[in-house]
């Protein structure tokens, strides 16, 4: 049975089609979920895509967390549903308190889009188990508010418990504390990542194929998960 991966569309989501394409290229079935519904349609995992949900005129993700679909996702995530938040999705996961910390305005105050080298720091999550520990990957980053911040204790704890999933290499594009590009929750089923793995899944359109690993990991995770 093919894994069914939900991709949520909020008003203002932009990379939802790209996320769905990445799921398909990884071998899964992409199921489109609408922000205003609450039925998860029995999906095996969820991707919250990039974009500017509800315009993000307030804090990024601050309104999206109240969407009916998010209420379902938060409940399911607590029960172990794998959830990947990319960019705006990461911001929403922080606002929804599924992940600690917050994403703030880039230190240099510009939107920045570049091909970014990352080091995968943790392969014990539902979205990174296809990588090798310490693997370096090239993934586009593009954001205006991608500067990850948290209090020192939280940062220490994230590092101590292996919950920093990826760090920026060769230059920090937004000023994130401790070069953090991606983190996970304690259970490892919820991952937030600022760069865009869904933009590195085809040789023709991306800087690499490294992004595919995040999506094949879901399938691997589900295959290994207890029935």
């Amino acid at each position: 049975m093919t894994a069914r991966v939900g991709v949520v569309t909020f008003p203002g989501s932009l990379d939802d089609g790209d996320a769905a394409r990445a799921v398909r290229l990884a071998g899964g079935d992409a199921v489109r979920l609408w922000h205003n519904d609450s039925d998860l349609q029995g999906v095996d995992a969820v991707v919250l895509p990039g974009g500017f949900s509800y315009g993000d005129y307030l804090r990024c993700g601050a309104i999206a967390r109240f969407a009916p679909m998010m209420e379902s996702i938060v409940a399911a995530a607590r029960d172990g549903l794998p959830v990947l938040g990319i960019c705006n999705g990461f911001q929403i996961l922080c606002e929804a308190h599924l992940l600690p910390g917050a994403l703030t305005r880039n230190q240099h105050l510009h939107f920045r889009n570049r091909d970014q080298l990352l080091r995968v720091e943790s392969i014990d999550t539902a979205f990174t188990n296809s990588f090798s520990a310490g693997q370096e990957v090239l993934i586009p980053v593009k954001n205006g508010e991608g500067c990850y911040v948290a209090d020192e204790r939280t940062l220490d704890e994230l590092e101590a418990t292996g919950r920093v999933v990826a760090r920026y290499l060769g230059g920090n594009p937004n000023g994130s504390q401790r070069d953090i590009a991606a983190i996970t929750n304690e259970a490892g089923n919820v991952v937030g990542i600022m760069p865009h793995p869904e933009h590195a899944v085809e040789a023709l359109t991306g800087p690499s194929l490294d992004g595919l690993g995040f999506f094949t990991s879901i399938l691997k995770h589900l295959a290994g998960a207890p029935a």
């Binding site: 240099h108 593009k142 000023g175 023709l204």
Partner: protein, 869 residues
């Protein structure tokens, strides 16, 4: 070329300014206006001792207008001439109401009526080559080109120059928003944007004010819409100080059977306004903001610039596409410049119908707005839909799903019994404020054949040739010239700008800046794609507007062709000074003639475009700047040819050929400008047949797998092209200058001449014979000039110089970060701290240089922009 429904309040103006009187005397062409008695009898009527604005008793109605024929109206302030005002009175058989006057002043403005350009733009249609691809052309919101049995592409470029000067962020943002709605109105999903930007001198303080805001605005709006920005131009020229040029292009894709039109057909159909509420922003954009050339008061015109809300536009896009797919709309028109006035009159005029509108139903941001303000508002993110009554509920439901407001504000009414077109009747709380024939606004505006005269200084300018300037003639001087040129603002790396744009969203970007053309895959199954480039060269056009326009076309065509794509259609944005200046009008006429002739020679039609006049501050007009966009097709984007040298297949390197001929052509060149502050002579020769041959050879070679890279030669010549191709992927090259270019300053000429019709291509070994045969077959000169070199990270020109790629990269990438903050190479740097890195290379080089003009950046340190606010 009728109205230009979008880009709120761009350019153009009428003759509100005092100087207009002078121009009006001589400026009135024979074809223009009939009756000339200004403001007939106005002072005679004793009832009219008050100004229109003084009404305490509600709006100015048709009834009142009929009863007070002699009332003084402020038409000159709204940009209407005496004779134009008189013609309105004749059309209506009475004086216009306040609302009607506002509508005529907007629709008869240069911006909407094209009254000065119309007589010239006709050539685009008259000279157009036959094309069975063109599904919609000039006069529509955007041209539509069929690209397969089922798919069509629509694209257009438009200016938002004046608003971007007054309020850089919002001006540029709404420029993007406006062109996107044009594309949307054709039934297409917008899939990419590009921007052609021109500013004053890079180190001028006003550039530091305007550029960061414009770039952030283009990015802020496009990024929020989820549209990849795939290319464009960034040019600095002192002539754009105080008058930046912000031209935005959008391309969209539609199934052929989803093509929409704007006609408000079918009496009884409902007129629906969808999108943002209507506010006071942008009022008078076309007639006040753009109503004069620039002056110190421009800052005070900020309220005439619209404010953009990309989130609402994103929802509007999704809602419209859903309505199209469900077949729920009869007609659709976007609202932009001239707002509701333009949309109502154009949709009705296109169908010959009338319209009845209840203006108080328009949702307002500001409840105190008066009828004429509602009609003139240029609030963004609005569309006008014509909907059959039985589909209205479904339309409203779709709008609700996407969270956009949709309101029935009127209905389509029948043509008159005698067969005459219907009338546009607008009421405000049961009072009739407008009763006009729609076509009198939309189609029947004034048309002027303005006087033209070759600029008096042109002969002297052309005689002052750059080929006579002192040229570097030693290897050392040549080496330093290379470093200086690649660090100059127009030739340097543009990453500082382009990394503020999302180029990945939608996942179909195959090539984006800095490549020669942007390429978007439009069919994931077949790999069908489109290539796009926009190019212009104001210096060339200043020296020779006819050939300058052709050169812009040639460069854009070539940029598309070197990717392996087949060019199929043209859009253009014509940026000029005041049409009331006969010299500017001559430049305009020549440029249009050149572009129309060029398109005819190349066999590709102009599918749409935009005119921007009044680009001048005081008496100084900008260089005439036709910006040309060319659309090309690739059957399979996997065949695209990138610009960067790839790591060679064999240790002895791949072969680099220069296609075309290099002549001593330096006039108007980047080199003459940078090192001598010189503009004179005649621009490079343009040979469009050669351009076609070049395109054909590269397409054939790409299809046969003979080339792994191709890069066009233009500004900065061969040296620039080689540096860009080396740095793209960090692969070096070893170049040998041909025998006949080895003496004296001839190596310099070979490296920096800007002869047109040239490109370099990289041919893997074992393909060279086949490739040479192909060139021979088309009689295209091809010179083997060197090899790629993966082992040495250098660019070597044998017997001249060797430059490390690191040194080249430092010089190439440091300039914009130095000028505008941050660094391109160190992502961690904080833009707050004025950057210093990289200055050494550039500074060292510029201190060297030859005679050197006074234009040399002298206060770079002071002008570092830290405008992050």
């Amino acid at each position: 070329m009728t109205t230009q429904p979008d880009t709120a309040s761009s350019e153009s103006t009428d003759m509100t300014n005092p100087e207009a009187g002078e121009a009006a005397n001589g400026g009135l062409g024979p074809a223009s206006v009939d009756g000339m008695s200004a403001v007939a009898d106005s002072a005679a009527d004793p009832r009219d001792d008050f100004a229109v604005d003084d009404y305490a008793t509600g709006p100015d109605t048709v009834e009142r207008a009929s009863a007070t024929p002699g009332e003084l109206q402020p038409y000159p302030e709204l940009g209407l001439r005496d004779d134009e005002y008189e013609r309105i009175r004749q059309l209506l058989g009475r004086r216009p109401t306040q609302s009607e006057l506002a509508m005529y002043s907007i629709m008869w403005s240069e911006h909407c009526s094209y009254k000065s350009s119309k007589v010239h733009l006709r050539q685009f249609g008259e000279k157009a080559p036959a094309s069975d691809r063109l599904l919609a052309g000039i006069g529509e919101n955007a041209g539509v080109i069929q690209v397969s049995d089922t798919l069509a592409v629509t694209f257009k470029i438009e200016s938002h120059n004046h608003p971007s000067f007054v309020e850089p962020y919002q001006g540029a943002a709404t420029g993007v928003g406006g062109i996107v709605r044009d594309i949307l109105a054709m039934g297409a999903r917008p899939v990419a944007v590009m921007d052609a930007l021109r500013f004053g001198a890079a180190d001028h303080e006003d550039t530091a004010r305007v550029l960061p805001g414009v770039v952030a605005g283009v990015g802020g709006y496009g990024n929020s819409l989820g549209l990849p920005n795939i290319g464009g131009e960034l040019v600095f020229d002192p002539c754009c100080q105080g008058n930046p040029l912000v031209n935005a292009l959008c391309v969209g894709v539609l199934p052929v059977d989803r093509l929409q039109n704007k006609a408000a057909a079918g009496a009884g159909n409902v007129v629906v306004l969808m999108g943002a509420k209507t506010g006071r922003d942008g009022i008078g954009g076309v007639s006040v903001l753009a109503s004069a050339t620039f002056d110190d008061a421009s800052e005070q015109r900020r309220p005439a610039v619209q404010v953009g809300d990309p989130f609402t536009e994103k929802l509007l896009i999704e809602a419209c596409l859903e309505l199209y797919d469900a077949g729920l709309v009869v007609g659709i028109q976007d609202l932009g410049g001239a707002g509701l006035t333009c949309a109502l009159t154009e949709t009705a005029a296109a169908a010959g119908t009338g319209m009845r509108v209840w203006l108080e139903r328009v949702p307002l941001r500001e409840p105190s707005m008066e009828p004429h303000e509602i009609l003139a508002s240029e609030s963004q993110e609005r569309m006008l839909l014509i909907v059959a009554p039985d589909k209205l509920d479904a339309v409203l439901k779709t709008a609700d799903k996407w969270g956009v407001i949709a309101t029935a504000i009127g209905e389509v009414t029948a043509a008159q019994a005698d067969g005459e077109p219907g009338r546009l009747l607008i009421t405000w709380r049961d009072q009739t404020v407008v009763d006009v024939p729609p076509a009198s606004l939309a189609d029947d505006g004034p048309v002027y054949a303005r006087p033209m005269r070759e600029p008096a200084d042109l002969i002297l300018l052309q005689a002052d040739r750059a080929e006579t300037l002192p040229r570097p003639s030693t290897p050392e001087a040549l080496r330093e010239t290379v470093l200086r040129m690649i660090a100059s603002p127009n030739l340097c790396d543009k990453t500082w700008v382009t990394e503020q744009y999302d180029r990945y969203v939608l996942g179909n970007t195959v090539l984006a800046q800095p490549e020669d053309a942007g390429i978007i895959r439009i069919d994931e199954e077949s790999g069908l794609g489109v290539a796009l480039s926009v190019d212009g060269n104001g210096r060339y056009a200043r020296l020779d507007p006819y050939n300058g326009a052709k050169l812009a076309l040639a460069e854009s065509y070539r940029n598309v062709a070197v990717t392996g794509a087949q060019p199929v259609a043209v859009t253009n944005c014509l940026n000029f000074g005041s049409p009331e200046d006969p010299a500017v009008m001559w430049q305009f006429a020549e440029a249009v003639r050149g572009l129309a002739d060029g398109c005819a020679e190349l066999g590709i039609p102009v599918s749409g475009g935009n005119v921007s006049f009044y680009n001048q501050t005081g008496a100084a007009a900008i260089h005439p700047t036709p910006v040309v966009g060319v659309l090309g097709l690739l059957d399979d984007v996997a065949q695209r040819v990138p610009m960067g040298f790839a790591p060679p297949a064999t240790p002895d390197g791949d072969l680099i050929f220069l296609l075309g001929e290099t002549r001593l052509e330096l006039s108007g060149s980047e080199w003459a400008s940078v090192t001598h502050d010189h503009l004179g002579g005649v621009p490079p020769r343009v040979d469009l047949v050669r351009e076609q041959v070049l395109a054909r050879v590269i397409a054939d070679a790409a299809g046969a797998g003979h080339v792994t890279a191709a890069h066009d030669l233009s500004d900065g010549g061969l040296a620039q092209t080689l540096v860009e191709s080396c740095l793209r992927r960090g692969v070096g090259a070893q170049i040998t200058v041909p025998e006949e270019f080895t003496n004296g300053s001839m190596p310099f000429v070979y490296l920096f001449s800007e002869s047109a019709g040239r490109a370099i291509v990289v041919v893997p070994r074992a393909h060279e014979d086949a490739f040479a045969a192909l060139c021979g077959q088309y009689e295209l000169p091809a010179t083997l000039i060197g090899v790629t070199d993966a082992t040495n990270a250098t660019l070597e020109v044998v017997d001249q110089f060797t430059l490390g790629l690191d040194e080249l990269r430092t010089a190439f990438t440091s300039t914009l970060p130095r000028l505008f903050g941050g660094t391109a190479t160190d992502p961690a740097a904080d833009a707050h701290a004025p950057a210093q890195a990289g200055v050494p290379a550039a500074a060292a080089v510029s201190s060297q240089a030859e005679p050197a003009g006074a234009a040399e950046p002298s206060d770079g340190a002071d002008s570092v922009a830290n405008d992050n606010g």
